[in-house]
C-alpha cells in the first residue's frame, strides 16, 4: 500500500473528524487549527481531488445556503479504503516512532 503524504493524512483525518460538515472551508479551518498555519483554499482542493480519484474519499452534494450564493456544498466522506489507508499510516507511524519518545523527552 502506498503511504499517505502528511497533507493527505491531515485532510483525511479532518474529513473524518468533521463528519457531516466535511467540505472545503471547514476542512481548511481544521487544518489551520491543527497545524497553526494558513492553508489556502486552493492548496486543499488538489489533495482532495487526488484522494477522491484514488478512492479514499467520496463526495456528495448537500443543500445550498444563502451565504454561498445559493450554491451546493460538496461534502466529503471516508471510504473503507480511505480508513484502511489511515490505519496503515498510523501503524507505520507507530512502528517508526517506537522507542524514540524516550530519546526525545530525554533531550528536552
Amino acid at each position: 500500500m502506498k503511504l499517505l503524504t502528511r497533507t493527505e493524512e491531515f485532510i483525511l483525518l479532518a474529513v473524518w473528524k468533521l463528519q457531516d460538515e466535511a467540505y472545503s472551508i471547514p476542512i481548511q479551518e481544521k487544518l489551520n487549527e491543527i497545524t497553526d498555519k494558513d492553508w489556502s483554499l486552493g492548496g486543499i482542493y488538489m489533495p482532495l481531488e487526488r484522494l477522491e480519484k484514488r478512492g479514499y474519499l467520496k463526495s456528495s452534494l448537500s443543500d445550498s445556503t444563502p451565504e454561498r450564493g445559493g450554491r451546493h456544498k460538496r461534502i466529503y466522506s471516508l471510504t473503507p479504503s480511505g480508513k484502511e489507508a489511515l490505519r496503515y499510516a498510523y501503524e507505520v507511524q507507530q512502528t517508526i516512532w517506537s522507542g524514540v519518545p524516550q530519546l526525545m523527552f530525554g533531550l528536552s
Binding site: L41, S64, R68, G69
Partner: protein, 874 residues
C-alpha cells in the same frame, strides 16, 4: 450588509466552467469571501476574490478554447460529410442562398451608391439648398421649385452670421471654341463662394481666387484635355459662343478633376455669372428665380433655428419687389434642403437639375433584397427541418454522450454558417461577373473598385454570417429539442407543429413570389401601354435636330428646301421645344370676352409651318397653320380642347377670337384634339401652339422615309455642316426621346422582372427539395399502392395535392396584396391601365404551373419506379 463578492469577478468565474464541481467551488469562494470580509474587511476580501479570478481564469479559458476548437473541428467535419452525402440538397441550399446573397449584395451596393451622392463635398453635412414653394404657381403637379433669385446667396451671407459660405449656380449649354476646335458643352454659371461650398480636386489654379475675375473660366480635366491636349491650359483663352452669336473671350484660371459621377449636377466648365447678359437685372429682381442657391451653415448653427428666419428674410427682400407688392399672396415660402438629400428626395421639386434618383426606389429595392434573401433562408430552414429525421440518430448519440442543448444548437448553427460561407463564395463570383451588367441595369456606374474596399467584404461577410445564423437557428432549435431516448428507440416522427411551420413558410415564399409576379406583369403592361398608346402625336420617323446657331435659323427657308431635295425626306418643320415634351408655360389674361381678373395658366409652344401635319395632330375645329393665310403682323394660334373650359368658349366659338401670349397678339385659327405633350404622369393641361416665324427656333424637325438610318443621319449631318460648320450636329429620334422620358420606369420594369424571376427560381428550388424529401419518405407507401393497383395518375395527384393546396392558398393571400401594391404604383400615372383580373389569373396560373412542374418531376419518377425496388428491403 452586502456580503456578495464583486459582481464582475463572480460573473467571470461563473462563466468559466459549467460542471458541478466548479459550482461548489464557487460556493466555497463565496463563503470564504464573507469569512475574510468579516475578519479583515471588504477590501481584503475583494482582493482575495480577484486573486482567485487571476489564478483560475487562464487555465480555464485555455481549457475552454481547446475544447470548443476540437468540437468545432468535429462540427465542420460532420457538416462537410453531410454536405457530401446529400449532394442535391446541398446544391439547392448553396445555390439558393448564393442567389439570395447576390441580390442582396448587389442591391446593397446600389443603395450605398445612391446614398453616396454629393457626400464627397467636404462640408456636405451642413450644406443646404434653398428651395421655395410658390403658392398658386402649380407647374407639372407641384408648387415647389429648386430655383431661387440670383441675389439670394450673397444677401443671405451678408445678413446672417451663421452662413459660412454661400454660392449659386445656373446651368448653361454653350459652345467653347479654341482656334478651330469647337465643343457644345454643359457648364455652370456660378458666383459667390462656389469652390468653398463645393469641394473639387484641383489640378491647377487656386480655388480661392479662380472664380473672382468676371472673365475667368474653370475647366474640368476632360474639357482641358479636349481643348488643349497635354498643354498647360492656365492663362490661355477660350471663346464662349452663345446661341445669339454673342462671343465672349474667357481666360482659364483653373483645372479641376471631373466631378464624381455621384454628384447631382454635372458640368465641364464653370464661368462667372457677372458676364451673363442679364446679370445686373437679375441681381435686383427678386421675383426672378433662375439659379440654385446653396449655403453652408457653420458648425454651431442649428438648421431649424435658421429656417425660422427665412420667412422674415422673404418679407424684407422678396415681398418688396414690384411683382409681390401687387401679388402678396404669392410670396414664396423657403426651405432648406440638405445637399445630401437632393439626389433622392427632389421629385417634388420643379427644375431640379438632371437627377434621376428616387428614395422610393431605394426603399422598394431594399424590401425586395431582404425578401429574396429571406426566401432563400426559408429554403434552408425548411429543408433542414424536413431532413431532421435523417440526422436524428446523430443528435441522439451526441446527447447520450453528454452534449447539452447549447452544444447541439452550436453545431447546427455552425453547419448553416458553413453553408452560407460556401454560398458567399459562389455569390462573390456571380457578383464579380455581373456587377457591370447590374450597374447598367440600374443606370449607375458601379465599378469593380468596390471589391478593393474592406467595407464591401466586411458587409458581404457579415451578411452571410447573419444569414447562416438566421437560417440555422430554427433547425438548431428544432433538432436540439429532440429527446435522445425517443430518437434511439426510433420513435420520432415529424411533429404536427413542424409540418405546419414548414407549410407556413412555403406559403410565405409563394405569396411573396406571386405578389412580385403580379407586380411585374402590371409594370410590364403599363410600360407597354406607355410605349404603344396613341398620345395624339405621331412620333415615328421624326428626327429632331437641335441647334442654337442663329445664322442657320436666319437661313432656315434655304435649309428647309435643301433638305426637302433629299429623296428620303418627307417633310421639314421646326419647333421651339422637343415635341414630346413641351414644358414651357405662361399666364395669359385679357383674352376676348374675359374680365380683367381672369387669368389662365397655359402651356405654350412656338412652332413652324408643317408642324401639325408632320406630327399628325388632329384638328377638331378651324384649320391648321397655313402659309397662304399668313400675316407678318399678327400671330396665329391653335389651342387644345383642354384650354377651352378655362377660356370659356366652345370649340366653334374659339375660332377667330383674339388672343395674346408671350407678347404676341393674334387670333385663334383652330382647335386641336388633346394630345400628350408632357408625360403620362400628368393630365393633359391647356396648351396653345403658336405659329412663330419671327423667332429663332431650337429644333429642326425632319420626317424621313426609308430604312437605312445610318445613311440618313450621315446625309443630314452633311447638309447641316454646310450651313452651320462650327456647330456640333446633335439629333434624336422623337420616339427615342419619348422613351427616354420613361427611362426610370423602364429600368424599374426590367429590374423587377429579374428579381421576380430570381424569387421564383429560389422558391421553386425550395419546393423541389421539399417534394423530393416527402416523396422519398413515401416511397414504400407508393410501392404498396402500386402493388395494390394504383395507376400513375393517382400516384401523381396523391403526391402533388398537398403542395398544390399551399400554392393556391398563397395565391389567395397574394392577390389582394398584389392588387393594393399595383394600384398604389399606378396612381402616379394620370394615364394608366386598368387592373384586370386576367393579370392575376396569369400570375396565379403561371406560379401553379411552375410549382406543379417542379413537384411533378419527382412524383412522376416515383410513380414510374418499379415497386419491387422500394419494397424489396422488407
Amino acid at each position: 450588509m452586502n456580503m456578495k463578492p464583486p459582481k464582475l469577478a463572480e460573473k467571470i468565474l461563473s462563466k468559466l466552467q459549467y460542471d458541478d464541481v466548479w459550482k461548489t467551488t464557487l460556493g466555497d469562494f463565496e463563503e470564504y469571501y464573507s469569512y475574510i470580509k468579516e475578519k479583515e474587511g471588504k477590501a481584503a476580501a475583494n482582493r482575495w476574490y480577484w486573486q482567485q479570478v487571476v489564478r483560475y481564469a487562464p487555465s480555464k479559458i485555455i481549457h475552454k478554447i481547446y475544447w470548443s476548437v476540437s468540437m468545432f473541428k468535429n462540427y465542420l467535419k460532420i457538416a462537410f460529410r453531410s454536405l457530401k452525402k446529400q449532394k442535391s440538397y446541398s446544391f439547392i441550399n448553396i445555390f439558393g442562398l448564393a442567389i439570395g446573397l447576390t441580390c442582396f449584395v448587389l442591391i446593397g451596393l446600389f443603395i450605398q451608391y445612391e446614398l453616396s451622392y454629393d457626400t464627397f463635398h467636404k462640408n456636405s453635412d451642413r450644406t443646404y439648398r434653398v428651395v421655395a414653394k410658390q403658392p398658386g404657381n402649380e407647374y407639372q403637379g407641384s408648387e415647389w421649385f429648386a430655383l431661387t433669385p440670383t441675389a439670394m446667396a450673397t444677401t443671405l451671407k451678408r445678413d446672417f452670421p451663421e452662413v459660412e459660405t454661400a454660392a449659386y449656380f445656373g446651368q448653361t449649354r454653350t459652345l467653347l471654341t479654341v482656334d478651330d476646335l469647337t465643343f457644345n458643352e454643359r457648364g455652370l454659371i456660378a458666383d459667390g463662394d462656389f469652390f468653398q461650398t463645393f469641394s473639387y480636386q484641383w489640378y491647377a489654379g487656386n480655388s480661392n481666387t479662380a472664380l473672382t475675375d468676371p472673365n475667368s473660366i474653370i475647366l474640368t480635366q476632360t474639357m482641358a484635355q479636349l481643348l488643349f491636349g497635354d498643354e498647360n491650359p492656365i492663362g490661355k483663352s477660350v471663346d464662349q459662343v452663345y446661341g445669339t452669336g454673342k462671343e465672349v473671350t474667357k481666360t482659364i484660371t483653373g483645372v479641376i478633376a471631373d466631378p464624381p459621377k455621384n454628384s447631382h449636377f454635372n458640368f465641364r466648365f464653370i464661368v462667372n455669372d457677372q458676364t451673363t447678359p442679364y446679370y445686373k437685372y437679375n441681381l435686383n429682381e427678386w421675383s426672378n428665380t433662375n439659379v440654385y442657391t446653396f449655403i453652408t451653415l457653420n458648425e454651431e448653427a442649428s438648421v431649424k433655428e435658421f429656417s425660422e428666419k427665412l420667412p422674415g428674410f422673404a418679407d424684407t427682400y422678396i415681398a418688396a419687389s414690384d411683382y409681390y407688392q401687387s401679388n402678396p399672396e404669392k410670396l414664396p415660402i423657403h426651405e432648406l434642403q440638405p445637399l445630401e438629400d437632393i439626389h433622392l428626395k427632389s421629385s417634388y421639386l420643379n427644375f431640379n437639375p438632371g437627377s434621376s434618383g428616387d428614395i422610393r426606389y431605394v426603399y422598394m429595392f431594399s424590401i425586395i433584397a431582404i425578401i429574396i434573401l429571406l426566401i432563400a433562408c426559408v429554403n434552408y430552414m425548411n429543408l433542414s427541418t424536413a431532413r431532421s429525421l435523417t440526422r436524428a440518430k446523430e443528435v441522439g448519440v451526441r446527447k447520450a454522450s453528454g452534449a447539452i442543448r447549447s452544444n447541439l444548437m452550436m453545431q447546427f448553427i455552425s453547419e448553416a454558417v458553413v453553408i452560407s460561407l460556401l454560398s458567399i463564395i459562389a455569390a462573390a463570383s456571380i457578383i464579380v461577373a455581373f456587377l457591370p451588367t447590374f450597374g447598367e441595369l440600374v443606370g449607375r456606374e458601379l465599378t469593380s473598385q468596390v471589391f478593393l474596399s474592406w467595407k464591401f467584404w466586411g458587409f458581404t461577410l457579415t451578411t452571410s454570417l447573419f444569414v447562416g445564423i438566421i437560417s440555422g437557428s430554427y433547425p438548431a432549435f428544432y433538432m436540439s429539442r429532440l429527446k435522445p431516448a425517443l430518437i434511439l428507440k426510433s420513435q420520432v416522427k415529424g411533429g404536427k407543429g413542424n409540418i405546419f411551420l414548414r407549410n407556413l413558410l412555403v406559403v410565405g415564399q409563394f405569396t411573396i413570389t406571386i405578389v412580385l409576379l403580379i407586380g411585374s406583369i402590371v409594370v410590364f403592361k403599363q410600360l407597354d401601354y406607355i410605349r404603344t398608346t396613341d398620345t395624339g402625336l405621331e412620333r415615328d420617323r421624326v428626327i429632331a435636330i437641335s441647334t442654337t446657331d442663329s445664322e442657320l435659323w436666319d437661313r432656315f427657308e434655304t435649309v428647309k428646301s435643301e433638305l426637302l431635295k433629299k429623296p428620303f425626306v418627307e417633310s421639314v418643320s421646326s419647333s421651339q421645344f422637343d415635341p414630346v415634351y413641351m414644358s414651357s408655360r405662361t399666364t395669359i389674361s385679357g383674352w376676348e370676352g374675359s374680365d380683367d381678373e381672369e387669368k389662365l395658366q397655359i402651356y405654350i409652344s412656338p412652332v413652324g409651318f408643317g408642324f401639325i401635319e408632320m406630327l399628325d395632330v388632329e384638328i377638331v375645329a378651324g384649320r391648321s397653320f397655313d402659309e397662304s393665310f399668313y400675316k407678318e403682323t399678327s400671330a396665329d394660334f391653335l389651342v387644345n380642347e383642354a384650354a377651352l373650359p378655362g377660356l370659356g368658349w366652345t370649340k366653334e366659338e374659339a375660332l377667330g377670337k383674339s388672343f395674346s401670349a408671350w407678347g404676341n397678339e393674334g387670333t385663334i385659327v383652330g382647335v386641336v384634339k388633346d394630345f400628350n405633350f408632357l408625360s403620362l404622369y400628368q393630365e393633359i393641361a391647356p396648351l396653345t401652339i403658336m405659329l412663330s416665324n419671327k423667332y429663332h427656333q431650337r429644333y429642326v424637325l425632319v420626317k424621313v422615309t426609308g430604312s437605312d438610318v445610318q445613311e440618313t443621319i450621315t446625309s443630314l449631318e452633311a447638309t447641316f455642316k454646310e450651313f452651320s460648320p462650327s456647330f456640333p450636329f446633335s439629333y434624336s429620334f422623337l420616339d427615342d426621346s419619348y422613351e427616354n422620358m420613361y427611362r426610370s420606369d423602364l429600368r424599374l420594369g426590367t429590374i423587377f422582372n429579374y428579381f421576380t424571376l430570381l424569387a421564383l427560381v429560389i422558391a421553386s428550388l425550395g419546393l423541389f427539395g421539399l417534394a423530393t424529401f416527402v416523396t422519398e419518405q413515401r416511397t414504400r407507401e407508393i410501392g404498396i399502392r402500386k402493388v395494390l393497383g394504383a395507376d400513375l395518375l393517382q400516384i401523381i395527384s396523391l403526391l402533388n395535392k398537398d403542395f398544390l393546396k399551399l400554392v393556391v392558398l398563397s395565391f389567395l393571400i397574394a392577390a389582394p396584396i398584389g392588387w393594393f401594391v399595383a394600384q398604389n404604383w399606378l396612381q402616379d400615372f394620370a394615364f394608366r391601365i386598368e387592373l384586370s383580373p386576367i393579370t392575376f389569373i396569369i400570375a396565379g396560373l403561371f406560379t401553379i404551373a411552375v410549382a406543379l412542374a417542379t413537384v411533378s418531376y419527382k412524383s412522376v419518377k416515383t410513380g414510374l419506379a418499379n415497386p419491387i425496388d422500394s419494397l424489396k428491403n422488407e
